[in-house]
Subunit: 300 residues, 2 copies
């Protein structure tokens, strides 16, 4: 089942995702002088933990497709998929423990603890996100807390684990954490923007898809926090509940968001976090992070 | 949600299970000279990992009741319950890592690794058990592999973690592992027997319940491995599939199992594992294990 999820063996070849988190971990480790081998166990563990969360998220969100392939639960059933995800979580940490061949035990234990702390925080974020599905309203603070937990915590862990692999001290690890968090926030808000205004051919995302499903994303949450107006009413009424929105309704909501300046507001929020990345003095890590925000092509 | 699961706070008081695994861990640790404090983090982590597996098992088995209370998923929905289970898994390991205040880092890392290994093996067992639900037949070897993974692995981990807490060497840890495994096997087969022949008032288990649900348990798997006969046909035909069995059909299957001697066969299998427990030289641990097999009262 896990081979199926990863698109390996008889189940590949297929689009396998960008491997952003382990690449980030390894680039941080290398920037601090670690070899690839010294970072590999942690990088593999991180990618596995991320994929375990995807397997469970797909069940929780009832998503039947990921990267154009059927999700694990939609092929093997919910029971086997929950359990396969659990097994992947265990394998992730068994892999991380292998880092003891390159690092002292106390450092590996700190890494295990950091990854479980991220794991715990991700669950907080996912719990909020599930609750959003039936929420009548979501405020900006709660939305930012949700993405900080659900998305940014694992990028923060990627940077922290990379820094541990490079033998960094506590202050340097904390600095790398801030960097990972800023990247994660920018990455998620950018993802939200693409879910509304994406160029489908370039990104594989369907423009307006998040609106049709009434997903609470940055532009919508921001728009509904603005003073009452006609376009504000359009968004509010569309998000009041009911069946998925039809294409005509989606187009009206997107137009209202444009009128309100929600796209520019998202751009400003991204720019704020990108500022943290631009201020980082290490060229290798900085270029990787800024470049990764373009892995999904620029919004036209 | 986790408070609800454990029956704490506004959700209690309620029957909370026997806490068998953490008690076993602490008794092993104490037998080796450790204090309660030195074993407490590991014991709490173990009980949390066990409960995380219960939360997910209840979803996977669609069980709506546990200890007479509604299961987490049946109150909060599948999505939140999967995620709450995941969070509990993370909290379990964050708790285990706290053991570093009493033990050297390399020992704690070995404990974390041992618990993740058990976690991984439990998933193997659960995957087999889910597959059993739709299996036309289950052989005795596969059945024993299933319970060795799903049930015995965590008792094995209880003994191993207790031994680590007591500062045991590799040979002693391995010996305690064997003890935990033998106990787990005996415990599960005994549980299987109670699922068919239990005194409901004394155990809370409904006699014949596992038969009505066509569960593959030791007595049934053993019976179907015997040569063809009239009672053998009764069991085989009842397990050929279809709707849950009616009380009259259940009674006929139980009578057939009695005629075949399935209850005695289960007794012999239990006795074999109990022999390992009786041979253990430490009186405290031995008495606890033998006594625990009677926590659920003796079959009348």
């Amino acid at each position: 089942m896990l081979f199926y999820h990863f698109g390996y063996g008889p189940h590949g070849p297929s689009r396998r995702g960008k491997r952003l988190r382990p690449r980030l971990l390894m680039i941080v480790a290398q920037a601090l002088g670690a070899s690839i081998e010294e970072a590999l166990d942690a990088a593999a563990a991180l990618e596995m933990l991320h994929n375990y969360s995807l397997v469970h998220d797909d069940i929780e969100d009832r998503d039947e497709l990921r990267h154009g392939r059927r999700t694990l639960w939609s092929v093997y059933g919910v029971a086997q998929a929950i359990n396969a995800g659990d097994a992947l979580c265990a394998v992730s940490f068994l892999t991380l423990a292998c880092a003891v061949r390159h690092h002292p035990a106390d450092r590996v234990l700190a890494m295990v603890d950091a990854l479980h702390a991220a794991h715990r925080i991700m669950c907080d974020g996912q719990s909020l996100d599930i609750a959003f599905e039936t929420a009548a309203q979501v405020d900006l603070d709660t939305y930012e807390r949700m993405i900080a937990c659900k998305t940014a915590a694992l990028f923060e862990a990627a940077c922290a684990l990379g820094a541990y692999c490079g033998g960094a001290d506590a202050a340097a690890i904390a600095a790398y954490r801030s960097l990972g968090r800023a990247f994660g926030m920018a990455f998620q808000i950018r993802d939200d923007v693409l879910g509304i205004w994406a160029d489908q051919d370039a990104t594989g995302k369907i423009a307006g898809n998040d609106i049709a499903r009434r997903k609470w994303t940055f532009p919508v949450v921001w728009a509904l926090a603005q003073p009452q107006s006609r376009p504000h009413d359009v968004v509010r009424e569309a998000y009041a509940g009911g069946a998925p929105l039809q294409p005509g309704e989606v187009a009206r909501v997107v137009a209202a968001l444009d009128q309100l300046g929600a796209r520019e507001a998202a751009g400003r929020a991204i720019a704020e976090h990108v500022g943290v990345l631009e201020a980082h003095s290490g060229a290798q890590v900085r270029e990787f992070l800024l470049g990764s925000l373009d892995l999904v092509p620029r919004i036209p």
